[in-house]
Symmetry: C2
Subunit: 109 residues, 2 copies
């Protein structure tokens, strides 16, 4: 039997993209969860859950994490927006749009 | 005595910008809080608090509101990022940066 495909996401989950971006920035700086959590005054466990997209960060906490990372909040949000845009943009429609079908008919006739 | 200036914000609060953007989109569509809250399956009061920046929206709720508004989440986040960038960009530094001082010295010498 073939391996079943992983479940397809039906929607972009912002906190997961946000967590990915925050972790990427932290790792790119060679910093540990411990260092950044201490600087942002958030528990190590909570920061870890945010990075894994398991907890929502309040606006204040998100700001504190960005400050601890030394990166503007707007840069982080832009990156999150781009990742979600890529997700939204590559969504494959379930059916072939009518205008594409019409083009194909014209092309082969 | 002069009227005291309003307190200056010391940081951008994401949920306030997010609320402003969501309200702007809803109003631009001529839709009421009642209509959008029903479509997003969120209480009218909660949606109102989100629009006023008084409550954080979870990732799932934010997605539901965007869907109810018929606007991609990425578009909303980009607009929020731009607003925060404008805020962060207009922050006046406490001191004149060294390179600007050097330029001024060159220009006047």
């Amino acid at each position: 039997m073939p391996t079943p495909e992983p479940l397809r996401r039906t929607r972009p989950v912002m906190r997961e993209h946000l967590g990915d971006v925050l972790r990427l920035i932290r790792r790119s700086q060679g910093r540990t969860l411990r260092e950044v959590s201490a600087s942002a005054e958030v528990s190590l466990g909570y920061l870890s859950e945010i990075e894994r997209g398991q907890k929502e960060a309040s606006s204040e906490l998100l700001y504190a994490i960005c400050r601890a990372l030394g990166v503007p909040l707007s840069i982080v949000l832009r990156e999150v927006a781009e990742r979600i845009a890529a997700y939204e943009g590559v969504a494959v429609p379930d059916t072939v749009p009518d205008n594409l079908v019409a083009s194909a008919v014209v092309a082969t006739s």
